[in-house]
Symmetry: C2
Subunit: 449 residues, 2 copies
């Protein structure tokens, strides 16, 4: 019997958050169903609860069953460079040398829209293969590369945020815009893409080193002109970067004050890294309700240092933190693997960080940081049905490690398995990714693979 | 036509070492053939060189071709606990608490030989799936667990070194031996397994905390009685461990001096970790020509600290260093992924560490550390034909990243791809593992899977 309704159900194990496990006991923040039912209608969550109870209300429901799989909300990547996909794992340098030697030549190729289109497709396939359904994405200085990204995201019906890199000094000439062209191009791209379907725009000065004060003034003006847009940039990643930044802005006492001076530090601002922040900078980010994107695989790969997550969470209010893969300085597209590396970075500093805390940052926490928690982040009724099906037994070692948890099916056992996945898993642990209740579309589905 | 000869050839890309890239230019230490031929006879390397030239000498040779795959010598894991396989990624503790909470209960199950046999099979399958062909393996205190391991290794014709854990204090009662029973049991196991086929024995006091002075005296006696055997133990991994150790040995000035006092610091001694060694301890390890097993995934996972590889290599003579996965505190069975994490640990300290240096430690360097470089470690004629076939295109991202290198097929491009594999790869990058020139045997092949 073919159902005429748009209703569809998903049955299996479910885990999501309704509170912040950095503030409260994990059991109070977490919803777990060993046998749950998610009901989706027209791409949104119509109902959610225990299968045994909820099923009675939907006697005719068509159901996709994942009896031994764990469904979680779609993962959110708060910092990633799509044009750097092909240069991941570039050997041997720290930040500034790495930019000059590898990044700038790679980004220069994105003036060709055909190249940008191919790479945007590849990049989004990788995100979806790893369970990431929303990301805050840096493109390049070329507007063509922004169009290519948004077009590819829109064809897949994804909720994505991106922006054109603004960069008018300290980079190769072919990669530079000017203060005025960067303003004009950003302006046009905002008109074209911001709030179009599920897309949103982020004003994107690369970092203070590559923007003149004139350009930063205009970045601030864009934020004022379009209150709903975002700001993304880099902050305090590497010691040499900080030193050069303060040489370029000799009247500023610290790195954050530069962005503050131009009105870039606000509640929709996401700063990547923040490794070497002073206590004063931490406090001001807290007061401004800005977000830090914690990118542990990148911070370890570039030898940048260890982010003080515990400091960010000890403030009042705590600083909103999300996780970033930071491809191509990061070494994995997987936000789950990024949680694993975040654990290592915090544990090395003698601090606790649980798998559930990591998953919170990657789902509801990231959604809150982006002020998108009315739309995504958990299985709340009315939200968009972006979610991920995890196979806890994707490899022989994972099977061995999670076997008992799949017999018990308690929150504690499944949380332990989730932690194991963050350490031992790879893209194979993502069995399926759903966008608005439908299987995610890949380049091959769209005829562009 | 069926060949009556035992000769078999392998054609493809080959990379191995004939020198130490910590001492000399990489190009001087490395052999690379873009189109090479390895000729194997009766499990040993009969010939090795450029295909175009060497093939003329073997007109009838049957050849297995891997045209786009990279063949490297079998990988060597210098520190791994086979009974800890099922407890990898155990959450939230540093060394001493982690031992009590997770490790000891897991190891207690190995008094049952049937369990030990199943886990030995699983463990060896994992090693082979990740390209590891030789390992220095800790078992448990139960002789049954040692027998199970050696039997499983012997059925696969592997070159493996292992030993019974000696532990007569500071652990749960059911896991303790006594000084005299540990001596007797080790003695019998050496008689049974050392130098049997490709197997060798390592005297294995867990660490100074869990052995009385009486037991360490007898460990030293075993080394004197059997000059060809090894010593493996842990050294200076964690600050609390060091503090407790020195409380237990109040007359010793540092950790290493305890092992020295009992004659355990010699050229066939492998010490895991060595993270917090003093300069004096580094110098004495250098003078004794002992080996350190560098276990970066474990050191990050347990928050133990960062091994000073550069210090170990700056001494004269430099300290022999190999790589250890340290499963179950380590988070990957892959020595290639371990190289990637070693890069992060060294880079975080501002030091250089190349993919080729990592591969050296994992092949010829490890073989030299074990004094097995007359038998394994590279493709030198006469050595045993243990090798690994790497698929540089095992995932979409790896394919993108290594595409150009596979067109160029130069040493520089392939070395860069190898580095990318250490960051981005997993067990899928190991297309095949050969033992003595034959495809490795897995539990299913042996009827025990």
């Amino acid at each position: 019997m073919i159902s005429c309704s748009d209703l569809h159900g998903f049955r299996g194990l479910f885990l999501d958050f309704i509170g912040d496990p950095f503030d409260d006991f994990e059991a109070n923040c977490t919803r777990f169903f060993a046998d749950g039912l998610l009901v989706v209608e027209s791409g949104k969550i119509k109902d959610f609860g225990e299968y045994r109870i909820l099923k009675k209300q939907y006697p005719e429901l068509e159901i996709t069953a994942y009896p031994n799989q764990l469904m979680i909300p779609g993962l959110i990547d708060l910092h990633v460079h799509y044009p750097q996909t092909e240069m991941v794992a570039a050997y041997g340098e720290q930040l500034l040398e790495w930019l000059n030697k590898y990044t700038f030549p790679t980004e220069a190729r994105f003036k060709h829209q055909a190249h940008a289109q191919i790479m945007a497709d590849f990049f989004l396939d990788e995100l979806l293969r790893h369970g990431t359904t929303t990301a805050l994405v840096l493109t390049t200085v070329f507007p063509e590369s922004v169009d290519a990204f948004f077009e590819a995201a829109d064809r897949r019906h994804l909720r994505m945020i991106a922006g054109k890199v603004m960069m008018d000094r300290n980079a190769p000439k072919e990669l530079l815009d000017t203060a005025s062209t960067s303003y004009e191009q950003s302006h046009q791209l905002i008109q074209k893409w911001h709030d179009y379907h599920r897309l949103a725009y982020a004003v994107t000065p690369r970092f203070a080193i590559t923007s003149t004060p004139e350009q930063l003034v205009l970045a601030g003006r864009l934020l004022q002109e379009y209150p709903g847009i975002y700001l993304q940039t880099h902050l305090s990643e590497n010691l040499k970067e900080i030193q050069l930044t303060l040489e370029l802005f000799p009247n500023n006492s610290d790195y954050l004050s530069i962005y503050e001076q131009f009105g870039l530090v606000q509640s929709r601002s996401v700063f990547a890294h923040g490794i070497h922040l002073s206590d004063g900078e931490f406090n001001r980010l807290s007061a401004a309700q800005s977000t830090i994107a914690f990118c542990p695989t990148s911070n370890l790969f570039l030898g940048s240092g260890l982010f003080k997550l515990h400091t960010s969470q000890s403030l009042n209010p705590s600083i909103a933190v999300g996780l970033g893969t930071d491809i191509g300085a990061g070494t994995s597209f997987s936000i789950l693997q990024t949680i694993g590396e975040a654990y290592k970075v915090t544990h090395l500093q003698g601090q606790a960080f649980s798998g559930l805390q990591g998953l919170f940052l990657a789902t509801l926490g990231g959604a809150r940081a982006l002020q998108l928690d009315d739309k995504i982040g958990n299985f709340q009724i009315g939200k968009e049905a972006d979610f991920v099906v995890l196979d806890l037994q994707a490899t022989p070692l994972l099977s061995l490690r999670t076997r008992q948890a799949l017999e018990e099916k308690t929150l504690e056992a499944i949380a332990d398995s989730l932690f194991a996945l963050t350490m031992l898993g790879d893209d194979r642990m993502v069995q399926a990714t759903y966008i608005m209740g439908k299987p995610a579309l890949f380049a091959t589905d769209l005829g562009s693979g």
